[in-house]
Amino acid sequence: MTVSDVLLEARDLTRLYTRGSEAIRAVDGVSLTIRRGEFVSFMGRSGSGKTTLVNLLGCLDNPTGGELDLAGRKIFGEGKPLGERDLTRVRRELFGYIFQNFYLIHTLTVRENVALPLAFYRKAGVEDEVERLLKMLGMEHRMDHLPGQISGGEMQRVAIARALVNRPEILLADEPTGNLDTKRSEEIGDILQELNRNGALTIIMVSHNPDLARLGGRRIEMRDGRAYES
């Protein structure tokens, strides 16, 4: 493994919450390395800290301790938390996100939802990505539909297209099939696997679903805020 292969490196990453006088270590000194093109699944029971860890890795939250390097840049570890602007800069450069609840805007068409990130930030050469991604995900016939007119599986496809429109390095998926039936879950799983294999996209996924988690080449189980490779 060369240094340039390493996309994400966490060292002793910690997230401490306080509830009254009690301190809770949601993430407890996790160290891990993720290489470009890896598909990493995080599993674990509720409250095990998997979502908190992925939020730290995805720069959605500041850790209370430890270090995080992304694409060779030190993100956390300089001693002070990053402000919202700095976190946004990192997020829009490196990440695409999909969530259990899709979060599509119901007054915008499928095409407009996918194009939404480009209204705020646009990497060079992504002009045709909206149509390309929707075609790739089999949604070209639904481009002008509103989210209320398509199925849950289709909504998640739109959310995936939206997450990928700015060509991120890492796709962060938090329970992407949590609201879908088995058939739709398998379809989304296939899409993620395809993106990882053929698109060389690095995927970090949190899932309760063991079948979906198995798609990841690498599985990490979270227990009491600690990470265990399985």
């Binding site: 939020n55 959605l60 939250d61 919202e84 602007r85 946004t88 997020r91 829009r92 990440f95 996100y97 969530f99 259990q100 609840n101 979060y103 805007i105 007054t107 915008l108 407009e112 194009a115 939404l116 990130p117 480009l118 209204a119 705020f120 930030y121 909206v130 939206r162 700015n166 938090d174």
Partner: protein, 394 residues
């Protein structure tokens, strides 16, 4: 590709009723504001026009309340005192005086005027000097009197319309039952002259049974010292001098109270509308916390979100403001009628004069105050953290 402006428009369309109600609030405030500004400007213009169209700057009349007299002169009324016609000869001698004209004003109760009768005002004017004071008069039909004592009338535009008279018709002086022939009908002037009936001075004196007059209109020479002339005129026995610039100032002072009241109402209306804007935009932000958080995961900076929400405020205020100006223009005549009913004295012509400058000024004020109101909701939206929105899904 979708732009932040399109996103803002679509956000507003989500809650159509709420957005519409806010728009109506802004529209009403703007309507009141533009109409108020229009009235401020229009009233003074109309008053100036009325005074300028008098053709003379000073009036000399028998002693009494000068402002009441001046108002009666402008509006018509009863109870004026009389003075000798020879006063004209004394006044014309003054070096500051360019022209003078004697006037006899008479008012008679006409039971056929309006629903329950009304006052018909007659101006006895000297055919030799009065037309020269009013060179801007244009006749719709006919012309001035044929001789200084003819049993003839010249009718103002509205007076002729009201009585349905044409040149050649006969008209009856109420109370006196004297028939006069209509020899001329004036074009509309937009002043009190439109409602006036002019009669040769000698004929009206004959009808009234007097050889006196009520007023002398004085046109002052250009660059003459009007104050000096006023002082000299006050030396004449039992007369008072009314300067129209003083009358104007007094009327404007009286109207100022009404203006302050209307302005207060306009300010309250604006404040209510602005609270409406804050409520609408803030509610919209609070309802969309998750969505705003997700926009941030997509790369929207706090400033982008701030501008997005501010754009929504801008759209509401601009659309509401433009609609308000449109309504103010469309219903300026109705406002005019309502204002006339309230005011003790309203000059002729349009009282509400709305122009592009004041429309833009009002729109600018509404948008500026609206944007100020949108600051807090926009700031709140800009501070939403994506993690909070994701946690909310519960």
């Amino acid at each position: 590709m979708i732009t932040p402006f399109q996103i803002a428009c679509k956000n507003l369309l989500r809650k159509k009723v709420r957005t519409c109600l806010t728009l109506v609030g802004i529209m009403l405030s703007t309507w009141v504001m533009v109409s108020l500004f229009g009235f401020n400007e229009g009233y003074e213009k109309a008053l100036n026009r009325d005074i300028e169209n008098m053709g003379y700057q000073l009036m000399v009349m028998a002693k009494g309340c000068p402002y009441e007299a001046a108002t009666m002169m402008l509006q018509g009324g009863k109870g004026l005192r009389y003075m000798e016609q020879s006063m004209v000869n004394d006044i014309i001698k003054e070096p500051e005086v360019e022209k003078v004209t004697p006037i006899l004003m008479q008012a008679y109760f006409d039971p056929n005027k309006g629903e329950s009768g009304g006052i018909a005002g007659y101006f006895g004017v000297d055919p030799a000097s009065y037309p020269a004071m009013k060179p801007f008069f244009r006749f719709r039909a006919g012309g001035w009197f044929h001789d200084p004592a003819a049993a003839e009338v010249v009718m103002g535009y509205e007076a002729a319309e009201l009585e349905q008279r044409e040149v050649g018709d006969l008209t009856l002086v109420p109370e006196k039952n004297v028939q006069l022939k209509v020899v001329g009908i004036l074009e509309r002037t937009g002043t009190q002259d439109d409602g006036t009936i002019f009669v040769p001075l000698k004929k009206l004196q004959q009808i009234a049974g007097t050889d006196k007059i009520t007023t002398v209109g004085i046109k002052v020479k250009k660059d003459a010292d009007m104050a000096k002339l006023e002082t000299k005129l006050y030396q004449l026995k039992d007369v008072q001098v009314v300067s129209f610039s003083q009358v104007k100032q007094t009327i404007l002072k009286l109207i100022a109270t009404a203006r302050v009241m209307v302005l207060s109402i306009a300010i309250v209306a604006i404040l209510i509308a602005m609270v409406g804007v804050i409520n609408t935009v803030l509610m919209s932000v609070l309802e969309r916390v998750q969505e705003i958080g997700i926009l941030k995961t997509m790369g929207a900076m706090p400033g982008d979100i701030f501008l997005l929400v501010w754009t929504e405020t801008l759209i509401i205020c601009s659309v509401g403001g433009i609609a308000g100006i449109g309504f103010a223009l469309l219903f300026a005549r109705v406002t005019d009628i309502l204002v006339r009913r309230i005011l003790p004295y309203a000059p002729g012509g349009g009282l509400v004069a709305i122009n592009a400058r004041m429309s833009l000024l009002t729109l600018g004020t509404i948008v500026a105050v609206g944007l100020l109101s949108g600051l807090y909701p926009a700031w709140r939206a800009g501070r939403v953290r994506p993690l909070e929105s994701i946690r909310r899904e519960g």
